[in-house]
C-alpha cells in the first residue's frame, strides 16, 4: 500500500509540473478537436504531431500524445451522439441510443452523462492501473489464440443482443460484416481474397471507410429524402443538464460499464473494443424494459461510454508493462516512445519510474481536463444541431472526405466510402441495421486470425477450444447468453422472435 501511494505521489509530482500540465491540456484539446471532426482519427494526427514532440522530454511528449488519444476517444462520442457517425469501433454502440436521445432533444443530457461516466471510469481505471497493472499482465498471458477466438464468439453473441428489430436480420448483418472482414490478403498464404483485383483492397477494407459510408453518408442521403427526420434533430432542444432521474438511472450502468471496460482493456489482443458492446448487452438484458434500448435509453449511453473510456485507459497496461500494443494507436505510441529513446517493455516500470507513473497520473489529470474542456462546450455542440441541414450535410461530407483521405493518403479509400454509402443506403431501405454489421466486421478479422492460429497450433484439432479451461469457460458463457437472448422471445411465439 505504501509503495502504491509512493508511486502515485511520484507520478503526480511529475505530471503536475507546469510544463506537463500544459502539454496534457494541449493534447486533450487537440484530441477533442480531431475526435469531434468526423472521419479524422487519432492515428493520422499523432503521426503528424510526432516531429513537434522531438523537442520535449519523453515524459512530456508521451503525456501530450496520450492526451490526444483519449481526447479523441472522448470527442468521438460527441460526434456519435450529434450526427450519428461512429469514428471508431468503440463508439458504434454510443450511436444507437445517443443519437436517438439527440433526436428527442436530449443531446445535452446524453453528452453530459457521457462526460461524467467517462470521468468516473477514467478515475477508476487510473487507480486500477496504478494498483494492479503489474499482476494483471500475468492474467493477460493466459490468453492464447484459442482463448481469443472464444472471446470473439462471445462478442458475436453481444451483436445479436444489440439488434433493435428483427433478430434474423441482425444475424445476417453480422454475417455480412464477417464476410467483409475476409476481403484482403489471406494472412497465412498471402493469397488475395475477393479483392476484385483492386490493389487498394489487398489489405482489406478499413474500419473508418466502412463506418463512414454505412453510417455517415447513408444517413445523410436518408435524411435528405425525408425532411421530417432531419428536422426532429433541430426541434425542441430540452434541458442541457442531466436531471436527478437521469443520474439515478445511470449510477449502476456507469459502475458496471467501468468494470467491464477496465477488465477487457487489459487483454493485449484489443479486448477494449468489446467493452462498450458487452456493457450495452448487460444493461439491455437486466433492464426492466429492454424495449427502450435503441430508442434513447440513457443507460445505453452511460454504460458503454464508461466501458469505452475505462478500456481506453487500461489498454495502456499491455503497452507499458509488456511492450505489446493492443491496437493501431498504441502501436503508434510505441513508435513515439521509441523515437524518444524509450523502448516500451517490461522494464519501463523499473527503469523509467518517472515516465511510467507520470503517465499514469497524467491520465487522471487528462480525464479531469476533458470534463473541464467539454462540459462548457455542450451548449455549443447542441447549438450546432440547429445549423440548417442544407449546410450541415456538406460540412460533414467534406470533413469525412478529408478524414478518410488522410488515413492512408489514398483517394481510393474515399471512393470506397462512397460505395459503402450506397450499400448502406440500400440496407437501410431494406430495413437492416448497420451496427451489428460493424461489430461483425471488427470481430471478423481477429476471429479468423485466431481461429486459424489455434488450429495450426493444435495441428487441426477443434478440441483445443474445449480442452483449454479459459477458452471453454468463455464458450460456455457465450452459449448461456445466447440462450438467454433467444429463449424468452421463442416462448412468446415466432411473431415476437423476429420483431422483438
Amino acid at each position: 500500500m505504501e509503495a502504491f501511494l509512493g508511486n502515485l505521489a511520484l507520478g503526480f509530482g511529475v505530471a503536475l509540473t507546469l510544463n506537463n500540465i500544459f502539454l496534457c491540456f494541449v493534447g486533450c484539446m487537440v484530441g477533442t478537436l480531431i475526435g469531434v471532426l468526423p472521419g479524422v482519427g487519432p492515428i493520422a494526427t499523432i503521426a503528424m504531431l510526432l516531429p513537434i514532440t522531438f523537442g520535449f522530454d519523453p515524459t512530456g511528449a508521451l503525456i501530450m500524445l496520450a492526451g490526444i488519444y483519449y481526447g479523441a476517444q472522448y470527442g468521438g462520442s460527441t460526434t456519435a451522439i450529434l450526427v450519428n457517425i461512429p469514428g471508431e469501433a468503440t463508439s458504434v454502440v454510443t450511436v444507437l441510443d445517443g443519437h436517438q436521445m439527440a433526436k428527442q432533444g436530449r443531446a445535452g443530457v446524453a453528452l453530459g452523462m457521457a462526460a461524467m461516466g467517462s470521468f468516473f471510469a477514467g478515475t477508476v481505471a487510473t487507480l486500477f492501473i496504478a494498483a494492479l497493472g503489474q499482476p494483471l499482465t500475468k492474467l493477460a498471458q493466459l490468453f492464447g489464440p484459442a482463448e481469443y477466438f472464444s472471446l470473439m464468439i462471445m462478442g458475436l453473441v453481444f451483436a445479436v443482443v444489440l439488434a433493435r428489430g428483427s433478430i434474423l436480420k441482425a444475424m445476417c448483418m453480422i454475417l455480412l460484416g464477417l464476410l467483409l472482414a475476409t476481403v484482403g490478403t489471406d494472412l497465412e498464404t498471402g493469397q488475395e481474397r475477393m479483392t476484385l483485383g483492386i490493389q487498394d483492397l489487398s489489405d482489406g477494407v478499413d474500419f473508418a471507410v466502412l463506418a463512414m459510408g454505412i453510417f455517415g453518408f447513408a444517413e445523410i442521403v436518408r435524411n435528405l429524402e425525408n425532411p421530417e427526420t432531419r428536422d426532429v434533430v433541430r426541434a425542441a432542444i430540452g434541458r442541457l443538464w442531466p436531471s436527478k432521474d437521469d443520474f439515478r438511472q445511470s449510477y449502476f450502468p456507469i459502475l458496471r460499464g467501468t468494470l467491464i471496460g477496465a477488465v477487457l482493456g487489459i487483454l493485449p489482443g484489443n479486448g477494449a473494443v468489446l467493452g462498450p458492446f458487452a456493457s450495452y448487452t448487460v444493461e439491455k438484458k437486466i433492464a426492466k424494459d429492454p424495449k427502450r434500448f435503441g430508442r434513447g435509453a440513457i443507460e445505453g449511453v452511460a454504460g458503454p461510454e464508461s466501458a469505452n473510456n475505462a478500456g481506453a485507459q487500461t489498454a495502456f497496461i499491455p503497452l507499458l508493462t509488456l511492450g505489446i500494443p493492443p491496437n493501431a494507436v498504441m502501436a503508434l505510441m510505441v513508435g513515439a516512445m521509441t523515437i524518444h529513446g524509450i523502448i516500451p517493455g517490461p522494464q519501463v516500470m523499473t527503469k523509467n519510474p518517472e515516465l511510467f507513473w507520470g503517465m499514469v497520473a497524467s491520465m487522471w489529470i487528462g480525464n479531469l481536463m476533458l470534463v473541464i474542456i467539454n462540459l462548457p462546450l455542450i451548449g455549443l455542440w447542441v447549438k450546432l444541431l440547429q445549423v440548417p441541414y442544407r449546410m450541415m450535410f456538406p460540412a460533414i461530407m467534406i470533413f469525412c472526405c478529408i478524414g478518410i483521405y488522410s488515413i492512408n493518403n489514398s483517394t481510393s479509400d474515399v471512393l470506397f466510402t462512397a460505395f459503402f454509402g450506397l450499400v448502406g443506403y440500400t440496407l437501410l431501405k431494406f430495413g437492416f441495421e448497420p451496427a451489428p454489421m460493424l461489430l461483425g466486421f471488427v470481430l471478423g478479422k481477429l476471429m479468423e486470425e485466431k481461429l486459424r492460429q489455434a488450429l495450426i497450433l493444435s495441428r487441426g484439432s477443434f478440441s483445443t477450444f474445449i480442452e483449454r479451461p479459459v477458452s471453454a469457460g468463455l464458450l460456455l458463457v457465450a452459449v448461456v447468453m445466447l440462450a438467454i437472448a433467444l429463449l424468452p422471445s421463442i416462448q412468446k411465439g415466432r411473431d415476437e422472435v423476429f420483431t422483438e
Binding site: 492515428i43 499523432i46 503521426a47 510526432l50 516531429p51 522531438f54 498471458q141 493466459l142 490468453f143 492464447g144 489464440p145 490478403t185 494472412l187 497465412e188 498464404t189 498471402g190 490493389q199 487498394d200 489487398s202 489489405d203 493485449p268 489482443g269 499491455p318 509488456l322 511492450g323 505489446i324 500494443p325 493492443p326 493501431a328 502501436a331 503508434l332 505510441m333 510505441v334 513508435g335 513515439a336 521509441t338 523515437i339 529513446g341 523502448i343 516500451p344 517493455g345 517490461p346 522494464q347 519501463v348 492512408n408 493518403n409 489514398s410 478479422k445 486470425e449 486459424r452 492460429q453 495450426i456 497450433l457 495441428r459
Partner: protein
Amino acid sequence: MKKLVLALAATAMMTGAAQAQSYPNRPVTMIVPFAAGGPTDIVARIVGEHMSKTLGQQIVVENVAGAGGTTGITRAAQSKNDGYTIMMGHMGTHGAAPALYANLKYDPVKDFEPVGMAAGTPILIVGKKNFPAKDLKEMMAYLKANADKVNQAHAGIGAVSHMTCIMFNSQLGIKPTAVPYSGTGPALNDLVSGQVDYMCDQIVNLVQQIKAGSIKAYAIATPVRSPALPDVPTTVEAGMPDYQVTAWNAIFAPKDTPKEIVTGLTDALNKALDDEATKGRLLELGGVLPTKDERGGKWLGEFVGKEVARWTPVLKDAPK
C-alpha cells in the same frame, strides 16, 4: 483562348525550370510505405528531420501502407521525378518484393534513382523463455530433430519476420509449422506467453523483452555484436556464419530525377548521418548505420541488385 493556354503553359514551364534551379523551394514529400510508428517510419522521421534543416525545406512524411509496402513504393515510383517526392525503401520493397508479388508494378533495380542507405536494424533469432536450447548450436540441433513439432511465429506474409525466418529455415533445411500473426505485437505476445517456440525479427522490436528475460536471444545476424545487446553473440560466433540479415532502409527518388537533385539529397542524408544527435537516436534503436563506403547512390544501386538476387531463390522455393 488558345493563346492564353499557350501562355500559361509557357509560364508553367519557366517556373518549372526556375524551380529546378533553386531546389527545394517547397516541402518535399517522403513516402514511407508502412504505417506510422514502425521501424521504417521511425528511421524516416529521424533522418528526415535533420535533412529538412540542410535542405531548408521541410520533409513531410506521408505514410502509404499496404501490400508489404509495395503500394506506397508503386505510388512513389509513379510520381513526378522533380525531387519533391522521394521514398524510404526497405529490404522488403526493394529486395524481396519481386519474389513475393507476381504482379509487382516496379523494378527495384531499374525504376529508381538511389539516394543512399539510411539505417538498418539487425535481425535476431529468439526463442520462448523455456525453449530447451542453451545456445544457437543446440537450437539448430533441436529444430532439426523436432521440425514437425516446433512452431515458428511471423508477422504475416511479406513481413520482415516472415522473410528472414524463411531464410533461416532454408539455411537449416527445415520446414517448421509457421504461425502467421497480423503484426509483430501479437506474434511477440504469443512468444512471451510460450504459445509459439521461436521467431526472427528486428532488434528494435525485441530488445526490451530480451533484457527483461521474457524471451531468449540466440544470435544476432550481423558480423559484429550490437551495443544495444552486448551479450548476444553474432551468428558468426554462434555457428551460423552465412545467416547475415539486416532490415535496411534506404532513400530512393523516382527514375530520372535530375542528377543535381539526387546528389543534393545524398549530401543532406550524409550530413544527417554525421550529426551526433541523429546518429545517437538511430543507435538507440539498435540500428546499424552505413559505413563511409556504404554511403551514396552508387553503392546503394549495386546493393539493391545483390539483395534481389539473394532473396529471390530463397522466397520462391519457400512454402507459403
